[in-house]
Amino acid sequence: MKKLLKYLKNYKKELVFGPFFKLLEAVFELIVPVVMAKMIDNGIGNNDSGYIFRMGGLIVLLGVCGLGFALTCQYLAARCAYGFGTELREALYRHINTLSYSGIDKVGTASLVNRLTNDTNTVQNGVNMFIRLAVRAPFLVIGAAVMAVMIDAKLAMIFFIAAPLISLVIFIIMRKTVPMYRKAQQKLDRASMLTRENLEGTRVIRAFSRQQEEIDEFREAVDDIADCSVAVGKISAILNPVAFMVMNLGIAAIIWFGGVRIDSGRLTQGELTAFTNYMTQILLALVVLANLIVIFTKAFASANRVSEVFAIEPEEDGTAQVSGDSENILEFRNVSFAYEAAGDSSVSGVSFTLKKGEMLGIIGGTGSGKSTLARLIPCFYRATEGEVLVSGRNVQEYSLSDLRRHIGYVPQKAVLFSGTVRSNMTWRKADASDEEVISALKTAQSWEFVSQKPEGLDAPVSQGGKNFSGGQKQRLSIARALVGKPDILILDDSTSALDYATDLALRKALKSDMAETTVIMISQRTTSIKDADRIIVMDEGQAVGIGTHEELLESCPVYREIYCSQMNEKEDGKNA
């Protein structure tokens, strides 16, 4: 939490002068009733029209100054809040960029986005309101009380009963309603989920003719929302009327006891008027204060969520540069790895070496540790035991950005970014030429459909690549990793949406176009990896077999099982 304060340090002036000007405005505002009281008491009392004009002018003057002060404060507040918010966001994003995969896993990317956008905004808004109101509202309460005491200390006792009473009401109601609001929000979320599920499953629902049941279920959910909202409304609606009652009963009391004081000559009529004015002011300020508490509570919660991200240690980085002079481009020495959240190892005791230009296939069922194994190579995750070596050196010693620049990575889920085909293709290499991009697209079997677009490489890509089909997205995401010919290419089960013919063409192209590149191909299908120079068979985190296709057929029962179950298909085809 304290850490966030340092982003305010460029805005010290605003932080001091903002509230100061606001305070001045409040002081002026408090003086007005006094002046008005004087105008009534002296002006009317002495029948002095000149005095009345002077005082009237003074009130206007006070108003003008007040306006000036207030605007100055608002400006300083906006400057401070947005300056702070901008620096905080920038620092936060910079920090997010230093996080390791394990660091990202701690909060999750969806939550990171939320913290980067919504939470920083809430904190920023908190700072804004702090400058604008945090000094003013309490000051008005205290100031009005002090003024009242100065006029008549005894009568002011009524203030000290009414103000805490109102505060108490505000407190009790908020404590009761906040959890109820949360519950109402949950009900709304449920309705949202139902709608989404319903739209996703329209075909199924209609195929099963279950529309009416869906409607009934949704109806129940919205009834629930309505009931819950009405229930909260019942309680939260108490706040204003009760505050109004307490304040006005206080005023009634002030008048009654004030009457007694006037009768004994200790209070004037004008002072009584001022007194009732202060009472009104206190109430208004207290209501503002209550809202302020809500804003600050939210801002503090958001600030904590932002701080949590800052508290995650950045990724350790080495300094070594990758040099291609080692014969073994990749080596695993007895590598084990366990995710921080999970107890069991996802990879245990894996060893193998791979020469430059060779192809490695990794096969195994879901959850067997295939992808995890590959993620250790670009040092996305660090081996918990053993060593991963690239070009003869432990990956942890490398400058990670240099290491990763030598590796092309194609994730399981194809993600494209809004922009153009070209802007997506230059992710790996910012200054890639059109020839490089086109050759990568050709290898990845995507040039055909890209070149058919009227804009070619400048064809627009919408967010998430929604304007491309699943298979096209996958091919583009492969092409993206090929641009600039990486030394190592990792394909993490990235051809699942491709039909056999395209898959085969892709593999052929990879072999001929990327001969220098060491390819690591993860797959569920033996056909995809059969021709690899080496195949690792993963089962429950263990490498249960390493070797060529022929060797594994001989020696590895798991591989044989997989192969046979898939080959049956094929044999069926050939024999028929």
Binding site: I59, I255, Q524
Partner: protein, 579 residues
């Protein structure tokens, strides 16, 4: 705009009584609370000075004041209750209505919009209508009432000073509207920038792992920093402009306050005959009125801003409600005991009239036959499903089921004759049993288990934490294959005469895939089946193969016929299985 408003309020009609009550309570509560300053003024007039206090009268006034305050508070509370009921119940009906509509519009409409966008109409837009229109309306209403009431009370005290106040009123409006205008542009720019920033953050931070893998972080930082700084710059301006409203109206209020004090005091000393005589107490109640006079103006202008949003939201909601519905067909025949015989007769279909797809397609399928649909990725295989289940209607030509044009049957009965398992599984939030029994709501536990057992799903379901009572959802941790098995069990339980199956291409682990394959085979026994096929064995064991390319059926026939023909199919076949 007026039409939209009218329509929203037509939804409030069943809750008219709450509306009437709101008005009554508002009138009572507001007029009582407005009378308070008068009584305070009267009371102050009772306390002229030392020894000049009329306690007798004061007591009466203070008692009356107390009672008024209590009742006014009570009425205000009741008013809020009625407003709440009015708003929440109206909104509930509106939500239910739009959801109903989703069940009735043609699929073309749902396919043409993103799910997120449509969901947002049900949730966010309606929330905005609730906040802006319904609650805003009562705020507006009570604001206007307060202003009018204040004016009336001021008039009763002193007509001339009241007129001065009225004459000064436009000041407040002019100031507010000037500021709103000035801030509007920067405000819009700010929200646009914020949208851009969130979009960028979602793409970059949302795919942070990819950003790291491609060492794109510096470039991402640069892009983010640029938008962020611009947002900070514009945001400062927009926030400053919009924060000018309060001090400015406060200032105008101060002016009115000063004017009233000045004129009132002058009147009290009889300085000018213009104002007329006035007591100190009346002056103080007048001052109290002028103090609260401009507040409702602020609120009303706030309501107008929200109103615009709400009308826009309501427009989006009514757009959905105005969509044409699939025509009612309960008077059509009910398809019962379908034999499984089916034929396409010269069917033409396209999604977009400019892009021709299915052209003059005919096919006869006898009961129990298997039809495989094959073709490269994205060739439009799902179009056939859309037509068979009447998710979309043919442009011309017909499909016959059990020897009769299938549009003669009710859609519901036609669809229940088909069982469909898609690659994109659909699991709703509920127990495993509820998910399996989706098509047969009355099914017993035994029937559910039997169906699951038949399709090899019983084993893994049994191992779930609560077996068949485990609550599952689309992303509750079941593997894709397991989800598909549950969908297959669902169909098994229904036992329809015709099937539509979608074979998996995606990453399902091998053992499960094997199981799914066996489940499909079991399911197809004796049923007419359409299979979107990727596996050679499935394709070859079919009676008819439909070869599709670019959305159109280009070849049809048995495997041997097609191989002999040497067309696209044989090409496809050779490329797929050549090593």
């Amino acid at each position: 705009m007026l039409k939209t408003l009218k329509r929203v309020f037509s939804y409030a009609k069943p809750y008219m009584r709450y509306f009437v009550l709101t008005v009554i309570f508002a009138a009572a509560g507001i007029s009582l609370s407005l009378a308070v300053p008068v009584f305070i003024g009267e009371a102050v007039d009772c306390c002229v000075g030392r020894g000049e206090v009329d306690f007798e009268r004061l007591k009466k006034i203070v008692t009356a004041l107390g009672a008024m305050v209590l009742f006014s508070g009570l009425f205000q509370w009741l008013m809020s209750l009625c407003t709440n009921k009015l708003a929440f119940l109206t909104v509930r009906d509106l939500r239910a209505d739009i959801f109903n509509k989703f069940e009735r519009v043609p699929l073309r409409y749902i396919d043409g919009h993103t799910k997120g966008e449509l969901t947002s109409r049900v949730i966010n837009d309606i929330e905005i209508i609730s906040d802006g229109l319904l609650q805003g309306f009562t705020q507006f209403f009570s604001g206007v009432m307060t202003i009018l009431g204040t004016l009336i009370f001021m008039m009763t005290i002193n007509v001339k000073i009241a007129l001065v106040v009225v004459l000064m009123t436009p000041l407040s409006f002019i100031a507010a509207s000037r500021i709103t205008k000035a801030s509007h542009d920067s405000y819009m720019a700010q929200s646009r920038l914020r949208g851009d920033m969130v979009a960028l953050a979602e793409e970059m931070a949302g795919n942070q792992k990819l950003v790291k893998a491609f060492v794109y972080d510096d470039r991402a930082m640069e892009r983010f920093g640029e938008i962020n700084r611009e947002y900070g710059r514009i945001g400062t301006r927009a926030t400053f402009f919009s924060s000018m409203t309060n001090p400015t109206t406060r200032f105008v209020n101060g002016l009115i306050y000063a004017a009233v004090g000045l004129l009132g005091s002058l009147g009290a000393i009889g300085y000018s005959s213009f104002v007329g005589a006035m007591s100190v107490g009346r002056l103080s109640s007048f001052l109290a009125y002028s103090n609260q006079y401009t507040k409702p103006f602020n609120e009303i202008s706030g309501v107008f801003a929200e109103l615009q949003n709400a009308v826009a939201s309501a427009g989006r909601v009514f757009d959905v409600l105005d969509e044409e519905e699939v025509p009612e067909d309960s008077d059509k025949a009910v398809l019962e005991n379908a034999s499984g015989q089916l034929s396409f007769r010269n069917v033409n279909f396209s999604y977009d009239p400019k892009v021709k797809l299915i052209q003059d397609f005919s096919l006869d399928v006898s009961p129990g036959q298997r039809v495989a649909i094959v073709g490269p990725t994205g060739c439009g295989k799902s179009t056939i499903i859309n037509l068979l289940l009447r998710f979309y209607d043919t442009d011309s030509g017909t499909i016959e089921v059990s020897g009769r044009d299938f549009t003669d049957y009710t859609r519901d009965s036609l669809r229940s004759a088909f069982g469909m398992v898609l690659q994109e599984t659909w699991i709703f939030t509920g127990t495993v049993e509820e998910n399996i029994a989706y098509g047969v709501p009355g099914a017993t536990r035994e029937q559910v288990i039997e169906a699951a057992r038949a399709v090899y799903a019983h084993g893994f379901i049994k191992r779930l934490p609560k077996g068949y009572d485990t609550v599952i959802s689309e992303d509750s941790g079941l593997s894709q294959g397991q989800k598909q098995l549950i969908c297959i069990a669902r169909i098994m339980l229904m036992s329809p005469p015709m099937l539509i199956l979608d074979e998996a291409t995606s990453s399902i682990d091998l053992r499960t895939e094997h199981r799914i394959q066996k489940a499909f085979t079991k399911l197809m026994e004796g049923r007419t089946s359409f299979i979107i096929a990727h596996r050679l064995s499935t394709i070859k064991n079919s009676d008819t193969i439909l070869v599709m390319k670019s959305g159109n059926v280009i070849e049809q026939g048995s495997h041997d016929e097609l191989m002999k023909k040497g067309g696209f199919y044989s090409q496809l076949y050779n490329s797929q299985f050549a090593t």
